[in-house]
Symmetry: C2
DNA sequence: TGCTATTTGTGTTTTAAAACACCAAAAGTA
DNA sequence: TACTTTTGGTGTTTTAAAACACAAATAGCA
């Protein structure tokens, strides 16, 4: 990781129309944009880890990041996948706690960190913005509650199907409109779906032999979305 | 369930020092207290159910409530337990979604419902209050993420131990300082811990024969808290 | 009060998924 | 380039927990 305050993608975090900051006044944007630092991460670099103290609001302007918790025997559970423009580490920041999860880039990524004090100032003075954050957290909590139930109750095939659908939903497709636009290792796919690596590999092969997907290295091509949704629903 | 706007416990939701509303100005409290309805529920009555549209912020002024999601084959997972003074159903309200979980009283309870519009008005005009809610949601999200990992990774004994510690943490002890102050059925204890009823019964008996707890009907008496915490950590 | 329904409790069987063991392929790296 | 490490892949064994089955006790109810 190295610091670099000069690449302009960081501005995106504040001005991008998909950002929660979209709609802030110029004064407010100025407060935020005067207090940030930027950095780049290569693939598989740690952005923060469990136990660290949040230094600000981290915005992902480029790349992809996995957020996971370590459980029994170091086994990791991916709780979220971040894409640009999006925020990471805001839960701990707003809870005034240290991180309870870790964030690692799964491809080359760029982030900027917005100073906490400036952010709090803007929140306090802008009720609509505060409501947006409340809305964001509430949705995230709903997602987490749903995951708890599916990860504990669905069978392996259902869990993997759900993960694939989640990845499509988060990152979309390549230009061919059928290849999922993210390359996870079998191990990460397993960590996302609460299963062992061998079971992820095995179940992926099953899906492939059933012509639900096709595999090409780390690329996953969706051949039968309806069927995948069906497997997701029925378990 | 029946309506009754005259019992004074409802005022508690706004004035109680443990409430997020504590610290609001009199004007703000007035706005909120002018727009609420109260109701009483007997044991095992539905307060809201999955799919319902939230009508306002529900405050529990008396009693105990379980919040759960239905999963595969109707199997329920308890995601939260509410105590007075506390709020229920706020996630869906703030996410502008229908409920994704259901709430059922596990003993006689009293709730009041604060009008959504009035609440939003107060949030928009009081940044500190908004931050309190952001903090509340962020903590709840942390709890949910932790649960996801422990429910999927811990073994039965560890999961049950964690649930018992969670119940102690939430409801505390009776006057004897060792009986958990909530009476859940074995089925509910199972739904809280992601296991079948028979396994909850079996594991409780194991704990009892190991002198970690003692059982007296639905009463659970903690005999060896250190050991219970140990089982929770290692199990 | 007796009758039904639910909850509690225990033994047995089945099964889904982990654990283990091993090899092949690919990707780093010296 | 060869060498090491990581990732992908597959068969076999083991095991934790569900599923099933059936009493006993308790609670709800007419």
């Amino acid at each position: 990781m190295y610091y670099d305050n000069n690449f302009k993608d960081c501005i995106d975090c504040i001005n991008n129309e998909n950002s929660v900051f979209f709609g802030l006044s110029n004064d407010e944007k100025k407060i935020l944009s005067q207090n940030y630092t930027c950095s780049k991460y290569k693939k598989n670099e740690v952005i923060y880890k469990e136990g660290d103290k949040p230094m600000g609001l981290i915005c992902l302007s480029k790349g992809k990041v996995k957020i996971f918790k370590e459980g029994i025997g170091g086994r990791e559970q991916i709780v979220r996948m971040a894409k640009p423009v999006g925020f990471i580490g805001y839960r701990a920041l707003f809870a005034n706690e240290n991180y309870i999860s870790s964030a690692i880039s799964i491809e080359e990524s760029e982030v900027c960190v917005l100073d906490k004090a400036s952010l709090l100032k803007v929140i306090k003075n802008n009720g609509d913005f505060a409501l947006k954050l409340i809305n964001l957290l509430a949705k995230e909590l709903g997602f987490s509650n749903k995951r708890t139930v599916t990860l504990t109750q669905k069978h392996i095939r259902g869990r993997l199907a759900e993960s694939l659908l989640f990845l499509i939903d988060t990152y979309g497709y390549e230009e061919d409109n059928k290849t999922i636009k993210v390359y996870l290792s079998r191990g990460d796919l397993a960590n996302l779906s609460n299963m062992t690596t061998s079971n992820a590999i095995r179940t992926l092969s099953s899906f492939a032999s059933e012509k639900v997907i096709a595999l090409n290295g780390k690329k996953i091509i969706i051949k039968d979305l309806k069927m995948l949704q069906r497997i997701n629903r029925l378990g």
